[in-house]
């Protein structure tokens, strides 16, 4: 066991630092897919979150509960449903996007949107109602109000986005099912890890897993860093 890890670590590092074309390609492709899915999720979730947090309307609690439920949506379930929709035999088959990066983006968007929606709604709702009065009293226009609200919740919103990104980048079931893990086309880090492991290429699998962990860690580190930065000012 330990031998495998050390061996894998060694080969993994070599693969990493020699910038192996395939490993690099998979890594960049993973970032592209998950990045796109995250951006789309933000575009869907953020306005909805603002609406949920700032306005009252009938059925609001129901929508929030749906988002919270969606947070725990298993990726394989998403993969199954998206597959059923996108297969040629499915209702959206004519789009011909099954086993393409687009299908993966769709699946990952379905996974990360509820996460970002639920967390950013909570983040915006945590802002004191009275602070909204204060911002209004300062003379803010509705646009200025939204801008200040987003700014006020920026750290929590970033955390929400990171959670969505993390949820997407680390899921394997949906990407495998709707992407098909096609070499040089729809292979991402997680599906490549599964494949290399089943092939018995533990070194490559480990190298990929280190990249995945590094990406996840880098994102967290960045978030922690900017969250902590504001507290530094306190002590001058």
């Amino acid at each position: 066991m330990l031998d495998t890890v050390i061996d894998g670590l060694k080969k993994g590092l070599i693969l990493l630092f020699s910038l192996d074309r395939e490993v690099l390609g998979i890594t960049l492709f993973t970032l592209k897919i998950t990045g796109t899915a995250t951006l789309i999720s933000i575009a869907i979730a953020l306005p909805l979150a603002l609406l949920l947090a700032l306005r009252d309307f009938p059925g609001k609690k129901f929508v929030i509960s749906l988002a919270n439920l969606g947070m725990g949506l298993p990726p394989t379930v998403v993969g199954l449903w998206v597959s059923l929709m996108l297969w040629r035999s499915g209702p959206l088959g004519m789009l011909r996007i099954m086993y393409t990066p687009a299908a993966m983006v769709i699946a990952q968007t379905v996974i990360s949107t509820p996460i970002i929606l639920a967390l950013s709604t909570a983040a915006l709702q945590q802002i004191d109602r009275k602070l909204r009065w204060q911002i209004m009293a300062l003379g803010a226009s509705p646009l200025q109000m939204l801008f200040l609200m987003l700014k006020e919740a920026r750290y929590s919103l970033m955390a929400a986005v990171m959670a969505g990104f993390g949820g997407s980048i680390s899921e394997v079931g949906a990407s495998m099912m709707v992407g098909g893990n096609i070499q040089n086309y729809t292979r991402v880090l997680t599906t490549a890890i599964v494949l290399e492991t089943s092939k018995g290429h533990f070194d490559v699998a480990l190298a990929l897993s280190f990249i995945l962990m590094f990406l996840a860690y880098a994102a967290t580190l960045w978030l922690t860093f900017i969250q902590q930065r504001r507290y530094r000012n306190v002590y001058y």
């Binding site: 495998t4 074309r21 395939e22 690099l24 390609g25 960049l28 492709f29 970032l31 592209k32 990045g35 796109t36 995250t38 951006l39 933000i42 575009a43 953020l46 306005p47 603002l50 609406l51 306005r55 297969w87 040629r88 035999s89 088959g93 004519m94 011909r96 099954m98 086993y99 509705p142 646009l143 939204l146 801008f147 987003l150 098909g180 893990n181 096609i182 070499q183 040089n184 086309y185 494949l195 492991t197 089943s198 092939k199 018995g200 533990f202």
Partner: protein, 320 residues
């Protein structure tokens, strides 16, 4: 009313704002890196002025089993096919059950699988056509070196299974409805055991590679294809204990989805089936050049081939 409109305008602006912010933040990094042969394959074929003109519908979905993908054979064959014909193959490696289902529903154009009984059912139904024998590899029974069930001396694989069951020696099954799994269940049946049950019989629900790892860790017997075993041999504490008899053969056929059959249930899906591409793929798989490559595959790495090309042979003559 006016107020609501305004709010929506704002919401939209924020959406665009957030998009542009994030895009400008990481756009440069996420540039796609198209490596390898996938995108250049058809172009190269065009430039080389290959035999066929570029096909109108390039996309060809090949449903196959994880074992073919895991062996690496497809990574060798598909680029050659793509270069020769200009098609763009999407190999989807899934369990045999799903691979066949995808063909039956029209979600795949061509299938490369190794579950003859199920294949024949599909052909009889009319869902699959142009079924051709491509190659075989063989299954082997592997287990711990000390061979607690003593299967080395068994007459054949069926006897070996009988004695494993009698001794209640630990056996790991894939249990994933794959071709290998089906083969294994068939052997249990032949051994007169039906579906085995008990503590000694464990199911992983995973691919062959993972199942071999589990068997190795637990010092258990398992049924595996030779290719996967050879590829992983160095990392396993498992030995070949039984091999060679006809019932252990793993026979691969290629066959096309039948658009006429699909049309009955789902005209939309039928329209998308790439019949020409599928035929081209079947022809490619049984062509002498390809058969030669199949016969050579794995020799350099393992000292012995992983597959035996069988195109044109009688299926029943194999293993005799």
């Amino acid at each position: 009313m006016k107020h609501i409109k305004k709010t929506w305008f704002l919401v939209a602006s924020v959406m665009i704002l957030s998009l542009t912010v994030v895009l400008s933040g990481c756009g440069a990094k996420t540039e796609p890196a198209k490596t390898g042969t996938s995108s250049s394959g058809s172009d190269a074929a065009n430039q080389a002025g290959s035999q066929t003109s570029p096909p109108e519908n390039k996309e060809l979905i090949l449903s196959t089993t994880t074992s073919t993908q895991d062996s690496g054979l497809l990574d060798v064959l598909i680029p050659i096919f793509e270069e020769k014909t200009g098609y763009k193959v999407k190999p989807i490696a899934v369990g045999t059950g799903q691979a066949l289902a995808m063909g039956e529903k029209g979600d795949a154009d061509v299938m490369l699988v190794h579950a003859p009984d199920s294949e024949i059912q599909l052909v009889e139904k009319g869902a699959a056509i142009n079924r051709q024998l491509v190659m075989h590899n063989d299954f082997i029974i592997v287990g711990p070196k000390d061979d607690p069930a003593g299967i080395k001396n068994a007459k054949d694989s069926v006897e070996a299974f009988k004695s494993i069951a009698e001794k209640q020696a630990l056996f790991v099954s894939r249990g994933d409805d794959s071709g290998t799994n089906k083969k294994e269940l068939e052997l249990w049946k032949k051994a007169g055991l039906g579906k085995p049950e008990g503590k000694w019989y464990q199911s992983t629900g995973q691919g062959m590679g993972a199942t071999l790892d589990v068997a190795s860790e637990k010092a258990a017997y398992t049924l595996t294809d030779r290719g996967t075993y050879l590829a992983k041999k160095d990392k396993l504490q498992l030995e070949i204990l039984k091999e060679g008899d006809a019932s252990l053969l793993n026979i691969y056929h290629v066959m096309q989805t039948n658009p006429e059959y699909i049309k009955k249930n789902n005209p939309n899906a039928a329209r998308m089936i790439n019949e020409h591409g599928a035929k081209a793929f079947v022809d490619f798989m049984i062509s002498p050049d390809t058969q030669k490559i199949i016969g050579e595959f794995g020799k350099d790495k393992f000292g012995q081939p992983l597959f035996f090309p069988d195109a044109g042979k009688d299926e029943n003559s194999l293993g005799k």
